[in-house]
Amino acid sequence: MVESDKTIKGIKFGILSPEMIRKISVTAVVTPEVYDENGIPIEGGVMDPRLGVIEPGQRCATCGNTLAQCPGHFGHLELAKPIIHIGYVRHIFMLLKTTCHSCNRVKIPEEDVLRYRDLYRRLRNRWPQLASSLIEFIRQKASKALECPHCGSRQFKIRLEKPATFIEEGGRGKLYPDVIKQWLSNIPNTDLEILGIDPEVARPEWMIINVLAIPPIAVRPSIVLETGMRAEDDLTHKLVDIIRANEKLKEALNSGAPEIILEDLWELLQYHVMTYIDNELPGVPVAKRRSGMPLKTLSQRLKGKEGRFRGNLSGKRVDYSARTVISPDPNLGINEVGVPYEVAMTLTVPEYVTQWNLDKMREYVLNGPYRWPGANYVIDPSGRRLDLRYVKDLKALAESLKPGYIVERHLVNGDIVMFNRQPSLHRMSIMVHRVRVLPGKTFRLHLAVCPPYNADFDGDEMNLHVPQTVEARAEAEELLLVEKHILTPRYGGPIIGGIQDYISGGYLLTLKSTLLTKDQVSDLLATIDYLGEIPEPAILSPVEAWTGKQIFSLLLPEDFNFIGETRLSSGNLKCSSDECFWDTLLLVKKGRILAGVIDKTVIGSQQPKSMMHYLIMDKGVEVGAEFMNKAFKLFLRYIEMVGFTMTLDNVKPDERALEESAKVISDSYGEVQKLIDMYRAGQLEPVPGRTLSETLEIRILDVLARARDDAGSASIKYMSLTNPVYIMARTGARGGNLNITQMSVVLGQQSVRGERIWRGYRGRVLSHYKYGDLSPKAKGFVESSFYRGLTPLEVFFHSAGGREGLVDTAVRTSQSGYMQRRLINALQDLYIEYDMSVRSLYGELVQFKYGEDSVDPKKTAFGKAVDIDRIIVKNVGWRMSV
């Protein structure tokens, strides 16, 4: 392959001149006929063989190349009358407004023309923005002139009638394309320059087409259907339309048809050429196929999400990738991904045969493409690619392998791949995992990496990509490996960490009351492949027993110290010193939990300043990842041992709770009634800036919200400490007090747009209520709980509130998606220079110092230079109070 040593310095766009179109054309298209009765393309038609090869094996009639080599060749069509190119209407309009209809000069005095030109040339390169505002100023000035400064003739107002008709008001009336072309071609080059047009590459008369370029067939290939019928591309259809309209116009011209007929035919040709270029013009009927489908013409090929730019250039489909449904696997490490055999046997990694891996490579080749771990292709030193599906004697091929060969082997355990879930909103959306080939048809991932991907398993799919070179693999692994993204630059804390059952399990294991027998300890330690000594039992008699805290402590580094309040430390269980009874202050000294339990604030994901965060900061992400792998397995094993679930009874409200909450609710109804009475009597004091009725609504909403919270806390008060629902809420594993309240006591006020629900009938929501009823229940207060069940009317209100939630999320995702697109497009090329400044590709300074302080949020103590408190705890391991 010959490589050119030329580099592209820039790209300049221009307009093809008629001369240029004729020059690049290999044939004039003269007939609307495409194929003869034998199905052979007609010479001089739009499928003329000289326009390029279409069938493999053929040789090009123009360049003599085969399908792969022939670039395709343009033809041309001589139009009977000139046509306005719809893409340039705005430019033509500008030129007609700024130049004289009589002498065709720009309507700027001669001396100014030269002055502006010199100014423009000076500004052009260094001050492009100023240059363009100068151009804008000149255009404004020129179009305002009432009299030509060159020839003195009076100027007419030009009007553009969409899409492409120009009217000279008070002058010649409608300006026909040939008149306009004449006008434009008279504008001198110097005048064009100060109007912002480079006459070298874009003479304005070229904006009126009299020769149409016919694109090569490769651009508009025809497809043969199963029936043997030939289906032509939309562009070919449109070209045929143009040629036919052109023929008719030509005939009419030759036969001296009346003016009206001529004009109609000219209009028709204009229409066809217009829709050939853009079929979504406002005010122009859309050109359709026989099936009624709008034709996809030139501009439709480029525009929009699926268009050439966004669909094929900025983003494209890639090889060496896979996509399937994801499912969880707690037995994997956080750095791993489970890959189905089927995928592993399709995706390949090219591996160079060396004397050290020769045996391994022979084994792969011997296994062939249908047995894992095998290989799909072998590339011999001459570059020939052997498809192992068609190699008869794999054994012989395996024997002949020697250094210099490349084996495209299946994906094997330990290979590194990039794993991705859309929408890829932040950098943790694509991370590198190590492959574990597993049975099944889904990708498997560790539950702790769900938060960064924002993944769940209700049918989510993910993509997988295999880097193909050593360099790519090294780079991907260094930058993207999961454990290197445990800490997020968003807030500096761990985004990967414990969720749901990991938290419940951790809590149950480290409870003060958890005692484990030797059998249980052995079971737990075996699941995490613990190889050290079993510690001294905490209780020696009557049977040896270990505490959960002891077992968990085996995973912590021996010199790790931590002290911090847990999530449970609140209300009457608050602990703020290490002599506290409630066991809610986590105390870790020399790698042992002395007091406290594990909950969300200790090992949870998205919890900065947690024990896990400091563990990772002290010991590094590798230790952090290993800790998570082991600890989470331990927690799950324990939760399996003791069993953890919830039943209906767990949300059944206590008798006392029911009584208290009923009282709270009925009290609030009384309060609401009082407000309504005051409102009716005109005694309600309005909130500043609100009307009286708005004030009433705000007050009622406030009273009812408080009532629900109070009813909730009244009932939660009576919940057992061993109630799994309560445990989950308190430890932060899943759900909160609101969820418990709604399940067991009262659902509360349903709202649409932050208001009580009032839409429906006049003055009432449903016909079940009296006109003007302002009471809680008439406007969507649901006093039932999910446990008790909702009344039909309550279900109605609840679904109204629920619908709003769904609509909101749908709207929000589309809006934030668009915002993301705009931000990425604006920011993607910024980089940090070695002097820590943020610069654009053109060397413009964006920030003088990255983030003002050039600090990586992942490596800072929350904005401070040093975190003295942490340093004391880390080294002394002790502080009397938090």
Binding site: W127, L130, E844, L845, V846, F848, K849, G851, E852
Partner: protein, 85 residues
């Protein structure tokens, strides 16, 4: 411009939320550009008609230094290139 409006504009610099702005001398400006390794127009721009620029008497082509208080970095320094407008 009314007297009242003028007085308000003069007080801009004294406002606590307005960071310190100063006009660089030619030598200082050249030093800054050399240090950053850029041409003046590659700095962020400020219009000569900006109240602060007017107050400092900055002309197009000048460079203004802004010293801000920063909660994380103590102080942070930025520059603006004055352009017509």
């Amino acid at each position: 411009m009314s007297d009242k409006k003028k007085r308000i504009e003069e007080k801009i610099l004294e406002h606590e939320l307005v960071p310190k702005h100063e006009l660089l001398t030619r030598e200082e400006a050249l030093g800054v550009l050399r240090e950053l390794g850029i041409r003046p127009e590659q700095l962020p721009w400020i219009r000569a008609s900006d109240p602060i620029a007017k107050l400092l008497g900055a002309k197009p082509g000048d460079i203004i230094r802004i010293v801000r208080k920063s909660p994380t970095a103590g102080t942070s320094v930025a520059y603006r290139f004055v352009v017509v407008g």
